[in-house]
């Protein structure tokens, strides 16, 4: 069954590389932030899949923490994006 888990991990890795393409290529800062946000959610899934592949339940704890950090970070970036035009 580990073949199935590893192929799922490879598909999720391809999706994360597509997000990385958008981060490098994005014409504005907002595009790059969208890429970072989506990549954070994808990493939550990758971490949880790794946890069930090796039967390590603490990796799902790490996934919860990663989701929390991704949420707070995206909110801070969005606030920064909004504030910068109000000052100029």
């Amino acid at each position: 069954m580990s073949v199935l888990w590893i192929s799922i991990l490879i598909i999720l890795g391809v999706a994360a590389f597509l997000c990385l393409f958008r981060i490098f290529r994005g014409p504005t800062i907002a595009d790059r932030m969208v890429g970072v946000d989506i990549m954070g959610i994808l990493f939550v899934g990758i971490t949880a899949i790794t946890g069930i592949l090796y039967n390590l339940s603490f990796l799902v704890d790490i996934a919860i923490a990663l989701a929390l950090i991704s949420f707070v970070g995206t909110l801070a970036l969005a606030k920064y994006l909004e504030r910068r035009t109000l000052d100029d």
Binding site: M1, L4, I8, I11, L12, V14, A15, A16, L18, C19, F21, R22, T28, I29, A30, D31, M33, V34, G35, D37, I38, I41, L42, V44, G45, A48, I49, G51, I52, N55, S57, V60, D61, A63, I64, A67, L68, S70, F71, T74, L75, L77, A78, K79, Y80, L81, E82, R84, T85, L86
Partner: protein, 136 residues
């Protein structure tokens, strides 16, 4: 080699559907024309896909600590990802990211920002000229 039960197979199918949603969302992130379309595609399908992965892990692992934690993580994602996407789209509209030129209406920009933030053909021509200058 442990034996595979029917419940396991159902869990694998749910996880696979979630992974396909994730991949399609990432492809939409690359292919769509402007920030708002990208957010729309990526946030919705990636959130639902990751929630599907978590539900699949719950089905495969059963009500063990791993499965319960996966359920909590999925519900948390389902609550927080739309909030962050909304903040991001509002921030980028106020930052001045233009909408794609085929956009029909922008009511928020018309009310609050003094005119719809839709990319016109002049803007596009200017951007193309800047790109050509960079190349040259």
């Amino acid at each position: 080699m442990t034996e595979v039960t029917v419940v396991d197979v159902i869990g694998y199918i749910v996880i696979f559907v979630g992974v396909v949603f994730d991949l399609l969302g990432a492809i939409g992130l690359v292919r769509f024309p402007d920030v708002y379309n990208r957010l729309q595609s990526a946030t919705k399908s990636v959130t639902l896909g990751t929630f599907g992965i978590m539900i699949g892990i719950l089905i495969v692992a059963g009500f063990t600590p791993l499965g319960i934690k996966a359920l909590i993580c999925g519900v948390f994602l389902l609550l927080t990802a739309p909030v962050s996407a909304h903040a991001l789209s509002r921030g980028s509209l106020r930052f001045g990211a233009r909408m794609w030129k085929g956009t029909v209406i922008d009511a928020y920009g018309k009310d609050k920002l003094g005119g719809p933030q839709i990319e016109s053909e002049e803007d596009e021509a200017k951007e193309n000229k800047e790109k050509e200058d960079e190349v040259a």
